[in-house]
Amino acid sequence: MRAWRLSRAVLRCQWRRAAGALGTAPLAGVTLLAVVVAAPIALARAGSALGATLAPALDDGATARLLTLAPMLAGAAGGAAVSLTSAGRRSLGLQLAAGPIGERAAFAACVLAPAGVVVALALPAAIALGASFGSAVPGGEAAGVGLVTVALAAAPVGAVVSEAALHSARGAWRGAGYSLLLAIAWIGTGVLLDSPALGPLAPAAGALAGDVMPAVVLACAASTAGAGVFVWLELAVRRPRRPVRSAALRRRRVRGPLAAALPLAALLLIARRRDLRLCLLAAVAFGLGGVAIASGAGAPVPGPLHLGAGSALLGAALVPLATGGIVLSGRWAWATAPRSRLLLCAVVCAAADVILLMSLVPVLAAAATVSGLPRLALAQIGFIALLLAGAARLAGALLPWREATMGDQLASFGAFAACAGGFSAVTGVAGPRLVAAGLPDALAAACLLSVATAVGLGALVLRVRRGA
């Protein structure tokens, strides 16, 4: 009962917040709504084209496994990001956190309920993509939808992995035990099903080639998701407290290099955020994992690079997404300082982009080691990273990232997904036309990136001017 009432309050807040954003920025809001509504149609077309392109390659088991690994890693990275940014019952605010609310009820209300709503909103588009992709491959539409269930099932598993890592890092060995058991169960099931990396989700790869019944895929995904949510819940409600490091009690002069170095201050503002640091660590870990798994599964070049960088980007995009919240929380200083607000926002955004790109370096280095680093693939990843950063900034300006509740954060995630979808659609439409008009590829890409950056930055500056 308490969990239900609390969930209702959390969801009501998010609904009102989204409606408020629509009221304050109607053009952007309506555009985002149009993207959400049109997404299933656009993704269905994209899925058909992708399926037709990849269908001949599915005779090779490695390609099918790689196609299954991509949504699995994306789902796991998303789950890890949600888990690591969850602040537990403290996200209820001190007044309610002190109340007679069970840990499970708090977790259900603050994490599971908003996550469920986000999944429900994204599901039609995801199913449209999967089904249309499946219609072009031997396994059929159900096999394509199976890929969607793989991403959904991997999300709680990614959350468990990150929670277990957090437990271990804080000296609670229950987490290490859970991770070990999970790894043994995962790899053991995978060995039985002929793909250690995919674990119990391996049947999804076979289903693409029509070798496995889709019902088996669904059953495996459902049991994986169920077990994942259960273990996630158990670990999350027992998350050990963060050890407190003693602050260095040193006297410092008020003036100094920090006072003058705005970029350095912006970098420190971001780097000192614990949630962002954890997410970046997880993003790098998942990126490296993606490279290792794709390489181990025999994925063709540049598969390991794409899979690793894609997984890392999904987590690292949190940094530009949080930029809006960071800038707005310091609005009392930014908005009253005798400096250009455009300059202030641009500096913070540039700092976020630098951190985003830096987080890709270890993944790129690993990919270069195992499968080389083709220049074209590198340029593509740089383009996608900066495009995603622009989308994340726009989303962060519309629904600023707040640490208050997971619902707030998932609303920002949702806005990010919609903005990324919108940017992607615009790029897909405008890019080929720019090239057809005679622009070189690099210049066309630079034009698109400039627009994406300007839109994100402009939205942030407007938001700072207008207020939180």
Binding site: A9, R12, L94, L96, A98, T405
Partner: protein
């Protein structure tokens, strides 16, 4: 005891609040007042020692049901209205219709009747604290914890808070509040605990303390106990060069 790294936030603090008693925690910033309230609320675990609320260990379901906290900076649920916050708190604490009736009385007393439908995120910090107070005080809990009791409140709200706290104490609630407002502490509390660097330096009824130190005001007692009796003279010369 509670440590944060090398810093002792609370060390050997022994504070009791009896039913019907109003205990005020006073002390400099960083003296451990908020930490003590959070230990009692179960939000922070003491490294050593124990906190008990209505016979249950702090942080247990029983203790949580028996207390209500008004934090220094209420946060979260910005999109709920004042009325919805109170209703949510009543549901979560399992409070009956009597709590709703008390909330109405408190809304009238604080003068928030016109703002019941206003969202928390649009309120000033002082009004938001009043909304938080209405939600917490209407529960009439066994133990009421109020952090930075008068911070950001206007003078009228301070008077209402003092009378509400006294009324709750009269009906049997224990109140533990932290404040920097020594005038409020002297009029609202029947027992004061002076904390500094996580330790209790002095305690007693406001009148007793003034008598003990031969002081006219609690401010004089406060500064004397902290060894800062000549603070104004000491800083005046340095600040003259501002």
């Amino acid at each position: 005891m509670k440590r944060y790294g090398d810093v002792v936030a609370l060390g050997g603090v022994d504070v009791g609040v009896r039913a019907g008693g109003v205990v005020g925690l006073v002390g400099p910033n960083g003296s451990g007042k908020t930490t003590l309230l959070h230990v009692a609320a179960g939000l922070v675990h003491a490294d050593r020692g124990e906190a008990v609320v209505a016979g249950s260990p702090a942080g247990s379901r029983g203790a949580r049901t028996a207390l209500a906290l008004v934090p220094d900076e209420p946060s979260g649920f910005d999109e709920l209205t004042v009325a919805e916050l109170a209703a949510l708190v009543h549901v979560l604490w399992g409070a009956g219709p009597a709590a709703a009736a008390r909330a109405e009385i408190l809304v009238d007393a604080f003068g928030l009747g016109q703002r019941l439908g206003q969202r928390l995120g649009t309120l000033s910090r002082g009004l938001r604290r009043q909304a938080s107070m209405i939600a917490a005080l209407s529960l009439a809990p066994h133990l009421l914890l109020v952090d930075e009791a008068t911070a950001t409140l206007d003078p009228e709200a301070v008077v209402v808070l003092r009378e509400a706290v006294r009324a709750l104490a009269a009906r049997g609630s224990g109140v533990l509040l932290a404040t920097q407002d020594l005038h409020f502490a002297s009029t609202a509390c029947d027992h004061l605990v002076l904390l500094a660097r996580g330790h209790v330096l002095e305690r007693g009824a406001p009148g007793e303390l003034c008598e003990r130190y031969g002081a006219e005001t609690l401010e004089d007692v406060f500064l004397t106990v902290l060894g800062e009796g000549a603070l104004a003279e000491r800083v005046r010369e340095g600040l003259a060069s501002l």
